[in-house]
Symmetry: C2
Subunit: 612 residues, 2 copies
């Protein structure tokens, strides 16, 4: 038996099982929650501003000043989103975020679109961020480059195990790098702004705001804006994960969201402003953050501290997926759109099935794309802005319907958010269609799958439902069939059991492969069990299943006439050691599986445990 | 259900199932048998002579004339082996070759050594010859070189399927290339000898026989001799495969063996003689056969015909493994040294399990060695000469014991064969120890495994054996436990069945994960099934198995006191379509497996087939 070894390994990796009542201890305080739920959003500071500059530089260096008004636009959108999600947290404090909001206010299908695209998005988050982190490492150590995918897989396995150990434990481990990253960027900004204010940065480096730029167009500006908006992915994660917060969960989640919004706003605008004053233009080899850090500190310890924490937070952004995916899956599973197993808590009270499946799917994605997941970023961004738009439209409907006190202000916030999100979504389709078109294929397919799963569950529930007074039809008697391979203790055991059941009839069935064997067996049987009827079914095809099922069909037809039930009793000997099983033809297992799934007979296994 | 598709695919690849009585039509005539059983031996003509020259050239070109006396030695050994195996065929006409001969005359362990090393050898044959064939192809088309392993795997899959279709069918397909190869070499030899006899080959090309050579040693000559003897692998295959021959099987097999010996002798000596007269020295890039063909014909169509058929026969040598391995495995399995499944005939009356496992293992070997299997050739040769030695020693013992008419002559043949084989074996160990040492590791391990498997089967047989008057202890009554998850039709179905069995007691068991659920369920149950006792087992750990098995243990302890049996009835609903299964937590399957293998309880599954 391998059990003890695997069991030991499981305990070692995951820890002892927890009681359901220990769930309270597995909740997060605000500081830890901020760390694990904001790593995705905060990590986008490392690439968001760069995305804006990359679009502007196509016109020329003089266009770079537009990053300032565009950043203001992004900050406006961020503000609208944060305020809007704050309202969602209070209105839907059981979690579920965009999925629940859209479902309840807009209907089932908008809900499924929001839920489905977020579900896929979290898988993309994990794959994209882990491979970005692996890239950062292999840029520093180029001889590791060919192991990129393997390094990413190791990261995913590590984060998966950490999450299986439970949410508090993963938060304790992962909080340090997140806060170190925030600290590193804060020092960078402080020093940078001090330099600018004290005039240490030459004014020639930047183009004055408002400098006219030839060839600039609204389309280009909108494109830069939507690229910059990809920094806002991950903002919705907290609204999905409210059940993980210490109580009062909603209030704590709302405060955490506000804190995340404030940090994100400061870091994002800080990077944009520094980049503007330093006149940083995006380069193929060196990131914008790296350029700013180098201009501020030179290549000293501080520079490497900033680079190191940036690489770390890119990997940890994956953890946001691990926090939000399982909880979103629970919501979809409770509504019977995805398999029920997602609702089960594991040994450590996390939703282990969701965690494991997220890990497996993102590893698959890594292999499919050979670790080159950058191409997935626009797909991933559009997958976030679709639910953003839907959830805020849902909130608009909610305020319109309920009209609670002060609803106009709330309605306005959500309307602004919905409009900007919708605009960004459209921009993604207009400006990056070649990268985002797959969403138009897989979202409908996913929703079709949700629909079919749901239909199946409903059909099953219909068929199983019972009223408490129903008793069903009584069975009048039993016919027992015992397939026998020889005259052994195993068969004797099964026959004695069959006799103890006071059945209407017991029939032993033997399937000989050769004519000579048939007669010999019948004779021996007559001597051994004269009171049990033996039927021999000769077959020239060396397979027991076919003649046996044909015989069972015949018996069953007769039995049904008198409301008798047919039971097949399968004698099976169980070897003492697991590996012995490969030494025996497991025909009994085959027969059992075949009969259970194909025939309406009851299948009984009488085990005979070998002692040596 | 995927069944119909896989079933269709199986029929398409393998053909319709055959009746056991059609076995006679699956037997081979001599021409076909010669083709498929001699391909291994004949293919070695393509590399055997070269092996001799490779050793001699280390001294210098003047030493090449020694190939003639060495070839005479090889021919002597071949004659002794053929005559000896002819005697084995008549003495042991049920097949089994070296294994059966050694076992019956020398004892169990010599038998297992012979059988074990042949078993491994056939796996090596397949891997080595298929990758040699792939090499031949990728030498012609170098841009295919990186697909070497894949090409080999495709060959193996192809030969495996052909053999699963049945032995006559594979023989029909494979006979052509073998006879074409023989024809090609015959034309080559005829033309070559004609050239020599008509004086078209300049005499300066070859060193006269008997030229003294500096630095020659007995050790070197013996080494060259044993290298040349590797051409004799495959000679034993016919003796293993006698049951595949049309009757009279033994006589036909003996004639086929003689024919194979004659062809092999002619081709082998022909190549050696031509190489000598043409003064061919081995080269890294061009094989000896290729050099002879080029000197004889130039690079014309005939040259490519010879090269093509040579490549083909190298691949087809694998088929000898497919003919001999399954039959050897049957013999070992009948004696209970390897799993019983090797004795079962498949749909097409071949021993499919042996065929499939041979294919799988040789593919594995290919992957492990990355397709570079040349290094395995010495290992493979020594694995043949060990059973050669043992089987002929066995025959010596047989003649000594029985002393039938004319035994002295027979004894002499076998003694010569045994001595030379033993000498070759020793030479392999002395001259190529670095390549053949693994045999000293894996043979003992293999024999230990055989021994343990045998012990297990004996122990099982002991425990199952019964005398026809034994009736066993009657069961006094039954206690039935029904695990129930809810109040559904599935549970109702199972309860009605339990009630129909006139059991002593029926206990329904429910495992709630929350305290509140417990009371609610008990109340509902009381209304629904007041006559069935309900036991609820609250658990804080979200797993049913542990509390359930603990409860079963308690019930069982009581039941045993009164000689009652415990039956666990598991309600299970069966979805209509296969894919639906992943939508349901298969706790019933888990519970059943756990109970059957760990506990001495009877497990009954009452299926409830869903209709939609």
């Amino acid at each position: 038996m391998v059990k003890p070894v695997t069991s030991f390994l499981k305990r070692f990796l995951i820890g002892r099982p927890l009681k359901s009542t220990e769930l309270g201890e597995q909740k997060l305080n605000k500081a830890k929650a901020l760390a694990i739920l904001s790593s995705d959003a905060l990590s986008s500071v490392a690439y968001g501003p760069e995305q804006i500059l990359l679009v502007l530089i196509t016109i020329g260096a003089t266009a770079l000043w537009y990053s300032i008004p565009i950043a203001i636009g992004v900050l406006l959108l961020l503000t609208a989103l944060i305020l809007s999600y704050r309202q969602i947290i209070f209105a839907y404090s059981h979690g579920g975020g965009a999925y629940v909001v859209s479902k309840e206010n807009l209907g089932k299908y908008p809900g499924l679109i929001a839920g489905g695209s977020l579900l896929v998005d979290y898988i993309l988050t994990v794959a994209v961020s882990v491979s970005a982190g692996a890239d950062a490492i292999t840029s520093a150590f180029p001889n590791l480059h060919e192991y990129n995918v393997m390094i990413s897989v190791v990261f995913i396995v590590f984060i998966t195990i950490l999450n299986l150990r439970g949410v508090t434990e993963s938060a304790s481990v992962l909080a340090y790098p997140v806060y170190l990253f925030v600290l590193a960027l804060a020092i960078l900004m402080g020093t940078g702004l001090y330099n600018i204010l004290t005039g240490n940065v030459p004014a020639e480096l930047h183009v004055p705001l408002g400098t006219p730029v030839a060839g600039i167009s609204l389309f280009l500006l909108l494109r830069a804006f939507s690229s910059g908006s990809s920094a806002l992915t991950g903002v919705e994660a907290i609204s999905n994960a409210i059940p993980n917060f210490k109580s009062p969960a909603a209030a704590n989640a709302a405060k955490t969201l506000m804190a995340m919004g404030a940090i994100l706003a400061v870091l994002f605008s800080g990077i944009v402003v520094l980049a503007y004053y330093y006149g940083v233009a995006p380069m193929a080899e060196v990131t914008v953050v790296s350029q700013i850090a180098e201009q501020t500190f030179g290549r000293n310890a501080m520079y490497y501290f900033i680079q190191g924490t940036t690489a770390l937070i890119l990997v940890l952004a994956a953890n946001t997926g691990y926090s939000a995916f399982p909880l979103l899956a629970v919501n979809l599973a409770k509504d019977k759109f995805i398999p029920r197993m997602f609702t089960m808590r594991g040994d450590r009270l996390g939703y282990s099935n969701g965690i494991i499946i997220l890990g497996v799917l993102s590893i698959l994605l890594l292999f499919v794309f050979g670790g080159k997941t950058e191409q997935l970023i626009p797909l991933y961004a559009v997958g976030v802005f679709i639910p953003f738009t839907l959830s805020q439209t849902g909130m608009m409907v909610k305020w319109m319907r309920g009209k609670p006190k002060g609803w106009v202000q709330k309605f306005t916030i959500n309307t602004v958010g919905a409009l900007i999100s919708f605009l960004v979504t459209i921009m993604f389709f207009l400006t990056k269609f070649t990268q985002v078109w797959p969403v138009l294929i897989f979202l409908p397919l996913l929703i079709l799958l949700f629909h079919r799963i749901n239909k199946h569950y409903e059909a099953v529930a219909d068929q199983l439902r019972i009223t408490t007074c129903e008793q069903g039809i009584q069975i009048e008697g039993n016919v027992i069939i015992v397939p026998v391979a020889g005259i052994t203790h195993v068969v004797m055991n099964s026959l004695n059991y069959a006799k103890s059941l006071s059945a209407h009839q017991i029939i032993a069935v033997h399937v000989p492969f050769e004519r000579e064997e048939e007669a010999v067996f019948e004779e021996k049987w007559e001597k051994w069990q004269p009171d049990v009827r033996l039927v021999t079914l000769f077959t020239p095809y060396r397979s027991i299943i076919q003649p046996l099922t044909k015989f069972i069909d015949t018996v069953q037809r007769k039995a049904n006439e008198s409301n008798y039930k047919v039971t097949v009793i399968i004698p099976q000997f169980i070897p003492k050691k697991g590996w012995h099983n490969i030494l025996h033809n497991q025909s009994s297992l085959l027969i059992r599986a075949h009969l259970l799934f194909r025939k309406d007979v009851i299948v009984t296994t009488v085990p005979y445990h070998l002692k040596k």
